[in-house]
């Protein structure tokens, strides 16, 4: 342990070292601290009925005081569009490489930019790209994955990039837990689970429909149907637009108009 080792004094550490570092008694603060001016991050509202408010204390109720079922019915929800197929262990570095993490998801312009980089980290073996370099229109609304989709980092930029790119749902064999949680918390994409390895039977560009309430996926291009695991309690949260919207609708936190 470091505590039992001998230590030379900090200042003598530099009298004989030829390193490029310089001996320095640190000034307490830089001579002038630049006070940043930037406009407050304005965000696309999740739900337009909420008016912004100024709250100091935040009351928080542990138990839901109203039932959400009637408001947040997902039984008739369907998605229809082209699918993009990836393999197993698609990690967050492939979904959104670290160099793009300087983009702040809660800033609308940067949210859009994140979308343009979704899945850009996939290796070159993926010859058809999720977003082609010169494309502005987003082609694929369903991502089909294998096992452990979204593994790696906790970066929320991952489901956000997919959602901003126009993906409505991911259908994977299984998920890494932080990616799953982030998808639900943000309401950006539905993280659906298939019962079979759909990624081996579908091709990028196949036309698909997902019947959410019936937990069913139809591949129109192959004519095959697949059973999905029920989205369960996560469904109403995503449908509401994420945990905040859900927490307000169910009375766990006060609505913003109060």
């Amino acid at each position: 342990m470091a505590a039992s080792l001998t230590r030379i004094s900090y200042s003598s550490a530099f009298t004989f070292s030829a390193s490029k570092t310089s001996v320095l008694s640190p000034s307490l603060f830089a001579s002038s601290i630049k006070v940043p001016t930037f406009s407050p991050l304005t965000v696309k509202p999740l739900c337009s009925t909420f008016a912004p408010h100024a709250a100091h204390g935040i009351s928080f109720t542990r138990h839901a005081t109203s039932t959400p079922a009637s408001v947040l019915d997902t039984s008739t929800k369907t998605f229809h569009g082209l699918c993009y197929v990836v393999g197993d262990n698609i990690d967050t570095d492939q979904i959104i490489p670290a160099e793009y993490l300087t983009l702040v998801p809660s800033n609308p312009a940067e949210y859009e930019k994140l979308g343009s980089y979704a899945l850009i980290g996939l290796p070159s073996s993926y010859t058809t790209r999720f977003i082609e370099p010169n494309e502005t229109k987003r082609k694929y609304s369903i991502v089909i994955g294998g096992a452990n989709f979204g593994c790696g980092s906790s970066r929320e930029h991952a489901p956000v990039a997919l959602g901003a790119a126009g993906a409505k749902a991911v259908v994977a064999e299984s998920y890494a837990r932080i990616f799953f949680r982030n998808s639900v918390a943000t309401g950006e994409v539905y993280p659906l689970e298939s019962e079979a390895r759909i990624c081996e039977e579908c091709k990028t560009g196949d036309v698909m429909t997902i019947e959410l309430g019936e937990s069913r996926l139809i591949n129109h291009s192959t004519g095959k149907e697949y059973k999905l695991k029920s989205i369960g309690d996560a469904g109403p949260v995503i449908e509401a637009g994420g945990i905040f919207a859900y927490a307000r609708k169910t009375g766990m936190i006060p609505s913003q108009s109060n």
Partner: protein
């Protein structure tokens, strides 16, 4: 001396007066949820003891907090939020610099007690508050305490489990929620138990242990589970080695990792925190999902080959693999103990490295240690002297640097397709920059040994 007869004594469990046995993780979450007991599978609202954020995920979390709770809302507790810029610091990337400014504006506005600011990017030492890598800063500044719940907007927040607490990573939206309420809904995970007994061989480090485990159970082997590390080997590890172990729990998909607090833990914390804490321990009869036992004496130095942390191989079986560079840094392998280990190996060899060898101390304190701690058996040399004599690069400014690539001008970023042996935590495609880069994860011993030969090398070549 006669002892009182005990035939009338019954085990407490049979009187029905005890709660069901719980694992350490269950106990911590029960405490946080203010419940007498919880069981795996329960969804519970817990109080958060410490919340941490950094420059990558802080701005987004702050944006959500303000949007959802209002521009004038205050965080639930200004002393429980720790704001640590560490990821993209020493760069000219304007957005990265702006993100640190956002952290500052928020911390000033909210009167955040613990904001480890940096304003002078040209000289990290000119910033007395700046620490460096968040997970190591949390430990060194005394924010990790047994029995507590720590959440952070970074997947390697699980590192703090080394202190016998529940620590895990969350995304921006949940972070915004925590900032406002100081609480979060968590599902109580089952626990996987990893038993390691026996004396740690002198050529192995905690990094080898965790690579062994991840290779065993795969990158999804601990998904939704807690990983509990027990046994005499674990008890013999110092705090930084325990941190290395828990750090890579996420690489197996784990929710959190835990090591029971003991005298090693209490000693470490003595001079770092005066906040009272109450350690908890797994009950002897607690049920675990599964148990894995390892015979430490049979383990050998490992690498994780490209491109997955579970792509385990013996270092000695990779000795034909030529490498281009070595990187020693990050929360996983850039702590004081990691540099001491690398220095020890360089000292034993006495030779110079054959490839560029990048050293990135995790924090300012680690940087100071490198320059002031005497390496045992060196005749009075510091780590920095040994590194210099071995021809390594000068230790860089403390931060996450190239562990995850970063902006293009990040120190030691891999901008060409090269082969790198690294003490970091992930080797997915493009992780350190270039998509075709080949990253071999390894212990500081293995990294140093490989630097000396220019090939992946088992450290036993140099350690006797």
């Amino acid at each position: 001396m006669a002892m009182a007869t005990r035939q009338s004594e019954r085990k407490p469990a049979t009187t029905g007066s005890m709660k069901s046995p719980m694992t350490m993780t269950e106990k911590i979450l029960a405490k946080g949820a203010e419940k007498a007991e919880v069981k795996a599978g329960d969804n519970v609202w817990v109080n958060v003891d410490v919340f941490m954020t950094n420059d990558i995920s802080g701005p987004g979390s702050i944006g959500i907090f303000r949007k959802e709770f209002g521009e004038n809302a205050k965080v639930w507790d200004r002393e429980k939020v720790v704001v640590i810029p560490d990821h993209y610091i020493f760069t000219s990337d304007e957005r990265a610099n702006r993100n640190v400014d956002i952290l500052r504006e928020f911390s000033l506005d909210q009167n955040i007690k613990y904001f480890y600011d940096i304003t002078d990017l040209s000289n990290f030492k000119a910033n007395p508050d700046y620490k460096g890598v968040c997970h190591i800063a949390l430990a060194q500044e005394g924010h990790c305490r047994p029995g507590e719940i720590l959440l952070g907007t970074d997947s390697h927040t699980c590192t703090a489990g080394a202190f016998g607490q529940f620590a895990t990573g969350i995304g921006n939206t949940e972070a915004g929620f925590v900032l406002g309420t100081g609480a979060l809904l968590l599902k109580v995970p089952q626990t996987l138990r990893f038993v390691m007994d026996g004396e740690m061989p002198d050529y192995l480090l905690a990094k080898d242990l965790i690579l062994q485990i991840i290779g065993e159970i795969s990158v999804a082997g601990a998904t939704y589970k807690s990983m509990e590390f027990v046994g005499t080997t674990i008890e013999s590890l110092n705090m930084e080695e325990r941190m290395t172990l828990c750090n890579m729990v996420i690489e197996a998909g784990g929710k959190n990792g835990v090591v029971a607090a003991d005298s090693t833990t209490f000693k470490y914390l003595e001079d770092k925190t005066s906040v009272p804490y109450e350690p908890v321990y797994s009950d002897a009869l607690a049920s675990f999902h599964s148990e894995f036992r390892f015979d430490i004496s049979k383990l050998e130095p490992l690498v994780a080959k490209p491109h997955s942390p579970d792509n385990r191989a013996l270092a000695r079986e990779c000795k034909h693999i030529k490498i281009d560079r070595v990187y020693i840094g990050s929360c996983t392998g850039g702590k004081t103990q990691d540099f001491l280990a690398a220095a020890k190996l360089f000292l034993a060899s006495g030779k110079k490295v054959k490839v560029p060898t990048f050293l990135v101390p995790a924090t300012q304190k680690v940087w100071v240690d490198i320059y002031t701690l005497i390496v045992p058996g060196s005749g009075g040399k510091t780590c920095s002297q040994i590194f210099e004599e071995a021809g390594c690069d000068t230790p860089a400014s403390p931060s996450c640097a190239a562990c995850m690539g970063g902006p293009k001008d990040t120190y030691a970023r891999m901008n060409e397709a090269q082969v790198c042996v690294s003490t970091t935590n992930r080797n997915f495609p493009g992780r350190m920059g270039h998509k075709e880069g080949q990253i071999y994860l390894a212990s500081p011993y293995t990294a140093a040994a490989s630097a000396l030969t220019g090939y992946i090398t088992d450290p036993r070549e140099f350690l006797h």
